[in-house]
C-alpha cells in the first residue's frame, strides 16, 4: 500500500541540512549578500547622480567660449553602407558656423557595398577641397579599425567624430571644440537625441533611456568631476593625447569606452557638454536593439578586463573618479549578477534556508523591489524627462520594466557568449546597427 505524498512544505520542514549542505547554503547566502550590496551601491549611485542633476551646481565651463582663434580640425564621418543618411550629415556639416578654412571633412567610407561611395564622390565634386574622402576597401572590419586607419589622414590636433546618421546643428562644432582649449582635456562628448522617437514603442522607450543617460547621468558626472564617458560619436578627441596613450585600438567592440579609460588612466580628462545636441537614429525593432546592446556589453566588458585593476589604483585619479569609473566599467556585469541573485534566492527558498537566513531573504525582496526595474534608474529617467520639458512621455515609464527585462537577458546572454569566446578563442564580431532613414532629397 502506497503512502500518501507529503507536501513539499512538510518535506522541507523535516529536512535538516548536514555540514556539507549547510556550507553550500552559507556560500549561496554569502554570494547573495554580496549581490545585494552591489545592487544597493548602484541604486545609490543613480540616486546621487539624479539629485545632483536636480539640485546641484551645473558645470558648463566651456560653453561660453564663442569667440577664439579656432584650431584646424578634422571631422570624420564613420560610414558603412550609409547611402540613406550620408548626404544629410555632409550638408549639415557644411552649414555649421565653424571657420571653413579650419575645417576638413573626411567621410570614412568603410567597405560600403551600397551607393555610399558614389554619394560621397558626388559631394566631393560639388565641394572640392572642403570634403576629402577616405574610401576603405580592405582591412579589419569595424568602426574602430576604420577610424584607426582614417586617423592618418587627420589634419590638426583635434578630431571630431560623427556617425553618418547624425545631423549636427549650426553651432555644434564650435561647442565640441571649445573644451579642447583646456590642455587637460583629451576627449569631449556631446548629447545624442533620438530623431525617430515616434516610430514605435521601442523608439519611445529608447528616447526615455537616452534622456536619462545624457541629461542626468552624463551631466551629473560632469558636475561632480567624475567620469563623463566619451561615446565615440558627437564628440571629439585630441590626437596627440590619443597617440600618447597608445593610439586607437581596433581590437575592441567599444573603442569609445576603451579610449575614455586609457585617457583617464594617463591623466587626461573627458568632458561632457549637455547643450551640444545632435540627432541620431535609435533602433526601431527589438532584434536590432538586442544586437546593439549585446555589442555594447561585450565591448564594455573587454575594457573592464583590460583596465579595471589599473584604473582602481591610478595615481592620476581622485577616489571619486576611481569609484565612478569602476562602477561604470562594471555596469554590464550587473544583469548576470542580478539573474544569479534571483537563482540563489530561489534556491535558498526551496532549501528552506529561511530558517537560517530569514533576514537575508527579506533583504533580497527589498533588493528585487529596488532593482527589478531599478527604481533609482527610473527616477533618473523621470527627472531627465522633466528637465527636457516633455512630461507626457513619462506615462510610458512603467513600460521600461519590459525593456529592463529584455536587456537583462540580452546582456546576460552576451556575457555568457563572451566567456565562451574567450574559452574557445573565437574572434568577436562587430555588428553594424541598421539604419532606417529614407534617402534625403539632396542625393
Amino acid at each position: 500500500m502506497t503512502q500518501p505524498l507529503e507536501s513539499i512544505e512538510a518535506l522541507s520542514q523535516r529536512w535538516v541540512p548536514g555540514p556539507v549542505a549547510y556550507a553550500v547554503l552559507s556560500t549561496m547566502a554569502a554570494l547573495l549578500a554580496m549581490i545585494i550590496v552591489v545592487m544597493m551601491v548602484y541604486a545609490t549611485r543613480h540616486g546621487v547622480l539624479t539629485l545632483n542633476r536636480l539640485l546641484g551646481h551645473q558645470r558648463h565651463p566651456y560653453l561660453d567660449i564663442d569667440q577664439a582663434d579656432w584650431p584646424l580640425i578634422t571631422v570624420f564621418i564613420a560610414a558603412h553602407n550609409e547611402e540613406q543618411v550620408i548626404a544629410g550629415c555632409l550638408q549639415a556639416l557644411l552649414d555649421t558656423n565653424y571657420p571653413l578654412d579650419r575645417l576638413k571633412v573626411v567621410p570614412v567610407n568603410d567597405r560600403s557595398t551600397d551607393g555610399t561611395r558614389a554619394i560621397i564622390d558626388d559631394w566631393v565634386g560639388r565641394y572640392p577641397g572642403r570634403i576629402v574622402p577616405f574610401h576603405r576597401t580592405k582591412g579589419k572590419p569595424g568602426k574602430a579599425a576604420a577610424l584607426k586607419d582614417a586617423l592618418q589622414h587627420a589634419q590638426g590636433d583635434i578630431v571630431i567624430i560623427f556617425d553618418a546618421d547624425y545631423v549636427p546643428g549650426r553651432g555644434l562644432l564650435k561647442q565640441l571644440v571649445a573644451p579642447f582649449f583646456d590642455p587637460e582635456v583629451g576627449a569631449v562628448m556631446g548629447r545624442v537625441v533620438p530623431v525617430n522617437t515616434g516610430v514605435n514603442l521601442l523608439t519611445r522607450m529608447l528616447d526615455l533611456e537616452r534622456s536619462g543617460g545624457y541629461q542626468v547621468d552624463q551631466q551629473a558626472r560632469m558636475n561632480l568631476r567624475l567620469v563623463p564617458q566619451y561615446g565615440g560619436t558627437v564628440g571629439g578627441v585630441r590626437c596627440s593625447a590619443v597617440a600618447a596613450v597608445g593610439g586607437w585600438h581596433d581590437d575592441t567592440l567599444a573603442e569609445d569606452t576603451d579610449i575614455t579609460y586609457r585617457l583617464l588612466l594617463n591623466g587626461w580628462k573627458t568632458v561632457y557638454t549637455n547643450r551640444s545636441e545632435c540627432y541620431e537614429e535609435v533602433p526601431q525593432d527589438w532584434q536590432v536593439r538586442i544586437k546593439q546592446i549585446k555589442r555594447w556589453a561585450k565591448g564594455h566588458n573587454q575594457v573592464m578586463v583590460r583596465y579595471g585593476l589599473r584604473f582602481a589604483f591610478s595615481p592620476y585619479l581622485s577616489w571619486r573618479e576611481r569609484l565612478d569609473g569602476l562602477l561604470l566599467l562594471c555596469v554590464f556585469v550587473l544583469p548576470p549578477l542580478l539573474l544569479m541573485g534571483w537563482l540563489l534566492a530561489l534556491g535558498l527558498y526551496f532549501f528552506n534556508a529561511g530558517d537560517m537566513l530569514t533576514g537575508l531573504i527579506s533583504l533580497f525582496a527589498l533588493m528585487a523591489y529596488g532593482t527589478l526595474g531599478n527604481f533609482a534608474a527610473f527616477f533618473e529617467i523621470a527627472v531627465a524627462v522633466l528637465l527636457d520639458g516633455k512630461r507626457r512621455r513619462l506615462r510610458l515609464l512603467p513600460l521600461s520594466l519590459l525593456g529592463f527585462v529584455i536587456s537583462l537577458f540580452a546582456i546576460s546572454s552576451s556575457v555568457w557568449g563572451q566567456l565562451m569566446d574567450k574559452l574557445l578563442r573565437r574572434d568577436m564580431v562587430w555588428d553594424k546597427t541598421v539604419r532606417y532613414r529614407q534617402p534625403s532629397v539632396e542625393q
Binding site: 569667440q67 582663434d69 600618447a244
Partner: protein, 345 residues
C-alpha cells in the same frame, strides 16, 4: 487555507497597484500624445547680439514693408523727440536719425536709432539698437540688451546687465556692472589708468620638464602634480597642466596653453600665448597678456593694463564673476555668468 487566502490577497492587491500605474501607460501607448523628438535648435540664442540682430531684422522687414507679425508694431519718434511718452511706450520705437535727449528717459520698449544716440545720466532702456554710436550717461541702465554698430560707451556707474555688443568697441567706465559683452575692442575704465609698458629684460629659456613633479603627458603637454611656481622672466614652450595652484612669475612667457585646477596668479607683464583655464580663481596682474580664451569656473580678476586676445584674434573671457580694473582690455567676448564689475582702484 488562511495562507492561501493571504497569498491570493497579496497577489490581487499587488496587481491592482501595478495596474494603476499602467493605466496611463496603456493610454499613451495606444493613443500617443507625445511622440515628437526633442527639439535640437539649429541656431543658438547664446549669441550675445542675438536679440539685437532679431530686432534689426524686424525693423528692416517693417521698413521694407514685408508682411509679418510685427509689420504694424512700431512707433516712430521725431528727431526733436517732442511729445514722446517714453515711460508709457508699449511698442518698439524707431528714431529716424541721430538723437540726443536733454533729460533722462525711461524707455519701456526697445528703441531703434538710425544714427548716433546719446542719453543723459540715469536713463533706462529695455533694449537699444543704434546704427551709429551709443553713449549712456552716468548711472544709466540697460535692462536686456544694447548694440551699437559703432562704439558703445557706458559712463560711470552704468548697469549693462544681460547683453552689450558693438561692431567696433565697448567702453565701460568705473563702477559699471555687466554680464555679457562682445566687441572687437572692450575697454574697462577708459585709458586713463594705462601706464607705459616697461622695458622687457631678456628672457631665460626654460623647460617644464625641470619643474618639480613634472611629467610629460604628450609631446606638447606637461603635467605637474601639486602646486607650481614658475620663476620670473623665463620663457617656456608647450602646454602646462597643474593639479594644484599655479603662480606665473612676472614677465614670464608661456608659448602654449595653461590649466591649473587650483587657481592661477599671473604676475605682472607675464604672457600666455594660448589659453588659460582653471576651476578656481584666475588673477591677471597688471599688464599681463593672454592670447587665447581665459576660462574660470569661479572668478577672474583683470588687472590694470591687462590684455586678453587681440584685434586680429578675438577670444573669450568667461567666469562666474569678473572684476576688471581700470585700463584692462579684452578683444572678443567677456562673459560673467553672475556679475562683472569695473573696479576703480
Amino acid at each position: 487555507m488562511n495562507t492561501a487566502l493571504f497569498y491570493l490577497a497579496f497577489v490581487l492587491i499587488s496587481s491592482g497597484l501595478m495596474v494603476i500605474a499602467f493605466g496611463p501607460t496603456w493610454r499613451e501607448w495606444q493613443h500617443p500624445t507625445d511622440t515628437e523628438a526633442l527639439q535640437v535648435l539649429p541656431h543658438y540664442t547664446t549669441d550675445i547680439d542675438h536679440f539685437a540682430d532679431r530686432f534689426r531684422a524686424l525693423v528692416q522687414a517693417h521698413q521694407a514693408q514685408v508682411p509679418g507679425p510685427y509689420a504694424n508694431e512700431f512707433d516712430f519718434a521725431p528727431v526733436s523727440l517732442e511729445g514722446v511718452n517714453w515711460a508709457g511706450m508699449l511698442r518698439p520705437l524707431v528714431c529716424l536719425g541721430s538723437v540726443k535727449p536733454q533729460t533722462a528717459i525711461q524707455c519701456a520698449a526697445p528703441l531703434f536709432v538710425h544714427g548716433d544716440f546719446e542719453a543723459p545720466a540715469r536713463s533706462r532702456f529695455v533694449g537699444l539698437l543704434a546704427q551709429g554710436r551709443i553713449r549712456l550717461g552716468a548711472g544709466s541702465d540697460v535692462g536686456q540688451w544694447a548694440h551699437a554698430d559703432a562704439s558703445l560707451h557706458l559712463a560711470q556707474g552704468c548697469s549693462g546687465l544681460r547683453r552689450l555688443s558693438s561692431s567696433t568697441a565697448v567702453e565701460l567706465e568705473a563702477d559699471c556692472c555687466f554680464e555679457r559683452i562682445q566687441a572687437p575692442h572692450i575697454r574697462f575704465g577708459g585709458d586713463a589708468a594705462l601706464q607705459p609698458e616697461r622695458e622687457h629684460a631678456p628672457l631665460i629659456e626654460a623647460s617644464f620638464d625641470r619643474l618639480e613633479g613634472a611629467l610629460r603627458q604628450s609631446e606638447h603637454v606637461t603635467l605637474v602634480r601639486g602646486d607650481c611656481k614658475l620663476p620670473r622672466m623665463h620663457r617656456y614652450h608647450g602646454s602646462l597642466v597643474v593639479t594644484g595652484r599655479l603662480l606665473i612669475g612676472a614677465g614670464t612667457v608661456i608659448e602654449g596653453d595653461v590649466k591649473a585646477r587650483g587657481g592661477i596668479v599671473m604676475g605682472d607683464h607675464a604672457r600666455v600665448q594660448g589659453s588659460l583655464c582653471s576651476e578656481k580663481q584666475i588673477q591677471l596682474l597688471d599688464h599681463a597678456q593672454v592670447a587665447g580664451p581665459v576660462v574660470s569656473e569661479s572668478g577672474i580678476l583683470l588687472g590694470a593694463g591687462v590684455q586678453v586676445g587681440s584685434p586680429q584674434a578675438l577670444t573669450t573671457v568667461s567666469a562666474e564673476t569678473i572684476m576688471a580694473e581700470a585700463g584692462a582690455r579684452a578683444h572678443g567676448t567677456v562673459w560673467a555668468r553672475q556679475l562683472g564689475i569695473v573696479w576703480s582702484a
